[in-house]
Structures are given as structure tokens and as C-alpha cells.
């Protein structure tokens, strides 16, 4: 399991508390290049907080976050620069409502990465095409369905070729019939070699794309391992209970 090369992301002893309530109680996590790490666990287990801490959107209380060996959690470094190397997609899309789909996607390449407008928009069009929204480049987010908005948000996060893609329960706010398209897109990204950390409740999908699955509960990683092993032969009692709950009482761990 240990890769020969250094991991893209390395989290060491990450701790985070809100007003004295511990949300993350010492997280250690390595993500190798081209790997998909899936975070599962009950609501409030710290999955979203972990992703936001990795993207430096939350101050951490203790620990280290290393991106390609650089400690980006050092408060003396410029967090804006560190974030340039990561792309994040949120549960509720968070598209900019005053910009068209294309402007949303082209914003970061143009403004943060210094690409000129023409190149940024050409790239934006390619990406919208890739996520299946070729005809929607001029549409404003409010005129798009949830699934379409989420695919624009994914294109926006991909627009500057981030080293690491962070997906925070990106299908949780979608109508059931729209979930498939978005997951299919994530599957394609994984197959194309993106390095991804994602939090999800879609167990079938997690099993299918994950290289490593981490089960979080109460702010700690209770158990982690290859998808096949964790889903079919969980070692910890808490993992077994959680999997039994989410896959329906009475059924054995999911068959795939």
C-alpha cells in the first residue's frame, strides 16, 4: 500500500475544535498520486471539516498538512498561494450567481493563474464540454438544474489543473435521478488519474472508485483500508454497525 514516491497529501495529527467541542481528534492521512481516498462516516463525524481544513478554509488547532512535502498549515505561509494547488467542490455547489457558467469556470485561471481571457475561456468551454454542458456556457447558475450546477462546479475546480481535488458530499443536495451523472463524471476523473479526496454517502460508488476508504466517527479515523477489504470485511465493530445501518438492516455488507 505504501507508495514508493512521496504522497501528494499528508495529514499529520490534525486537531480541530469549535468552542471546546472536538471535531477532529488527531487525523493522520496519506494520499498517493492518482489515488482516490473516500471518507465515509455518519453526519457530524468530521468529514467536511477535514476537507475544509485541508483546503485551509478553517484554521486548525494542531497538526500538519503537507502538500507535495510542503507544510501548508504553517500559519506563516500564504494560504491563498497554497489553495491555488487544490480544487474544492461543495455540497451546495456555491457557484457565483452573478456570473455565467463559463465565467465561473474561467475565473480562477484568468484572475489567479494569469491566463489571458481568450485562453481561459477556450479552456472553460472545453471543460464544460467535458462535463456534458457544451451548450450551457452562457447560462446563469439559477437557470441550471442542481446536477448541471454541480457539474459546472466540478469544471470550475478542474480549470487550473489542481494537484488535489477535494469533493465534499457533492451529490447530497441533488435529486436522486441527477446523482448518476455527477458520480459518472467523478468516476471518469478518477480513471483519468486525478488525485481525489472525497466525502460521500454513496457506498456503492465509494466501493467502485476508491483506492482507500476511511471510516470516520467522532473526529477520528476508526478504520481505513482498500475499498474491497473495508466494505466486505470491516475489522472494527463501529464500522460494521455503520455499514449495516447505511446499507439497510438485515442485509450483509453490500454486494457491489
Amino acid at each position: 500500500m505504501t507508495p514508493a514516491v512521496a504522497p501528494v497529501l499528508s495529514v499529520r495529527g490534525l486537531r480541530k475544535a469549535y468552542h471546546g467541542r472536538v471535531v477532529l481528534g488527531g487525523i493522520d492521512l496519506d494520499v498517493a498520486e492518482h489515488h482516490v481516498v473516500v471518507l465515509i462516516g455518519p453526519s457530524g463525524s468530521g468529514k467536511s471539516t477535514l476537507l475544509r481544513c485541508i483546503d485551509l478554509l478553517e484554521d486548525i488547532d494542531d497538526g500538519q498538512i503537507l502538500l507535495d512535502g510542503t507544510d501548508i498549515s504553517d500559519p506563516r505561509i500564504d494560504a491563498d498561494v497554497a489553495r491555488k494547488a487544490m480544487g474544492m467542490v461543495f455540497q451546495s455547489y456555491n457557484l457565483f450567481p452573478h456570473m455565467t457558467a463559463l465565467s465561473n469556470v474561467a475565473l480562477a485561471p484568468r484572475v489567479v493563474h494569469g491566463m489571458d481571457r481568450g485562453d481561459a475561456e477556450a479552456r472553460g468551454r472545453d471543460l464544460l464540454d467535458r462535463v456534458g454542458l457544451a451548450g450551457k456556457s452562457g447560462a446563469y447558475p439559477d437557470t441550471l438544474s442542481g446536477g448541471q450546477q454541480q457539474r459546472v462546479a466540478i469544471a470550475r475546480a478542474l480549470a487550473y489543473d489542481p494537484r488535489l481535488l477535494l469533493l465534499d458530499e457533492i451529490t447530497s443536495a441533488l435529486d436522486p435521478e441527477l446523482v448518476g451523472d455527477v458520480l459518472e463524471l467523478v468516476g471518469e476523473l478518477a480513471a483519468a488519474g486525478s488525485t481525489i479526496v472525497m466525502a460521500t454517502h454513496e457506498m456503492g460508488f465509494a466501493r467502485q472508485v476508491a483506492d482507500v476508504v476511511c471510516f470516520l466517527d467522532g473526529g477520528v479515523i476508526v478504520e481505513s483500508g482498500p475499498a474491497g477489504q473495508l466494505f466486505s470485511d470491516p475489522k472494527e465493530l463501529r464500522t460494521r454497525e455503520f455499514l449495516r445501518r447505511v446499507t439497510g438492516a438485515g442485509t450483509s455488507p453490500p454486494g457491489g
Binding site: 483546503d55 478554509l57 456555491n94 484572475v111 489567479v112 493563474h113
Partner: protein, 278 residues
Amino acid sequence: MTPPVTAPLDRQAYRRAKARRSTLVALTSTLIFAAVMFVVVSSAPGWPRVRESFFNLRIGWESLPALLDGLWLNIRVLAVASVLVLIIGLVLALLRSLRGPVWFPVRALTIGYVDFFRGLPLLICLYLVGFGLPGLRLTGMPTSPVVLGTVALVLVYSAFVAEVIRAGIESVHPSQLMAARSLGLNHRRTMRLVVLPQAIRRVTPALLNDFVALQKDCGLISVLGAVDAVRAAQIQSATTYNFTPYVVAGLLFVALAVPSARVADWAARRAAARQGML
């Protein structure tokens, strides 16, 4: 077989007939009401005196050129003041939204400014700036009542506009900031490209409301002796012993405000339509 086919047609015909009848009733009742009002008002014992004092067409017409001259001054003051108010209000709002301990004195100063000038009666501000400052006899101090009046208007109105814009900035959801930061945008770019465009759009109706208020308060520079529409009306009224010039000047200000209100409606509708909210 027939009911499913004819029922919707009947319903539409019935609704059309009902709508026609409603229009007719509204029209008739308005006409009758207007006629009654006309008879009542014009047969009231005091009406000829009221008409002579407030609605004297000849005096109104003769005072019109002087009033329009004065109004032109008001419009120029309004143009300069509204641009300055918007810029200063925006700067104040942005200064107040700065984070970090270094900026504490700046934040405290803007809060003090806003509290002071929002509470200060405009008339007192006009007297202090318009009469007080020239009284200091400092070199380089402007003495024109128009310039000083504009300064007083800008001081007071920028405090109001700063608060409106700040409310707009704070109404933008934190998730928008998070999305902008996650893309690597720094605080300045996040403000300029993500927060402010949404904030300004959201507070445009409130800003245009302040614009209309400023429009009529421009008439207050007359207290400093500037010959604007209000002052011109005062002069005309004093020479004719008649109040019609005031009525005409008042109507001119109203006529100026109506397009602003329509522009406000139009701007709000356009922003909503563009984002597909209609």
C-alpha cells in the same frame, strides 16, 4: 364526452367576460368619483382663494424660467454629490469590512464617522459647513455656498450609503466567500469579483431610494444662499405675494424623482431576469 372538451372553453370565456366587466366597473367608478371630487372642491367656499394663491397659472408660467435655472443648479449639484457619495460610501463600507488588528483604528474611525453623520441633522451640517467653515477665514477655503452645500450633502449621505453597502456585503452568504477562497482568490479579489457585485445588485433598490432622497435634499443648499430652484421660488413668491412658484418648484422636484423610481424598478427587474429569477 362533451364536458371535458367544452368546460375549459367555457371557463376561459367566463373569465374574459368577468375581466371586461371589472375594467368597466373600475372605469365608471373612477369617473364618478373624479366628478364628485371636482364638484365638491370647486364649490367649496374657500376654493377661489386657494386657486388664486397656489395655482395661479399666469404667475406659475412667469416664474418658470427662473425656477428651471435654479433646478439646473440642483441637478448639477446632484450629479456631483451622487458620484462622490457613492465613491465615499463604498470606500467607507470596504474599510469597515477590513479584518485584522492593524486595521482597528480605521474600522473604529469609519464606525465613528457613520454614527456621527447619520445622526447629525442635515440642516445643522449645512450651517456648520456652509457658514462655519468660511467664518474660519482659512486660506484656500472655498466660500461658494454651492460647493460648501455639496460638501455637507456628501458628508451626511455617504454615511447612509456606506451602511447600505455594508448591509449588502454582509448579506452575501459565507459559502460564496469559501468558494472564492478555495479557488485561490485573495481577500481583495474575493471582495471585488465575488462579494461586491452581488452586494451592489442586492442593494440597488435601497441605493436608488437614497438617491431620490438626495435629489430633493439638494434643495436645502438654498439655506446657504445658493440660488437653486427653492431659493428662486422664494424670490418669485416674495415679489408676487403668491405661493404658486413654490408649488411649481415642488412639482419640478417630483417630476425629477419619478424617472428615478422607474429606473430603480427597471434595474431591479433586469438584474432578476438576467439571473433567471423571473
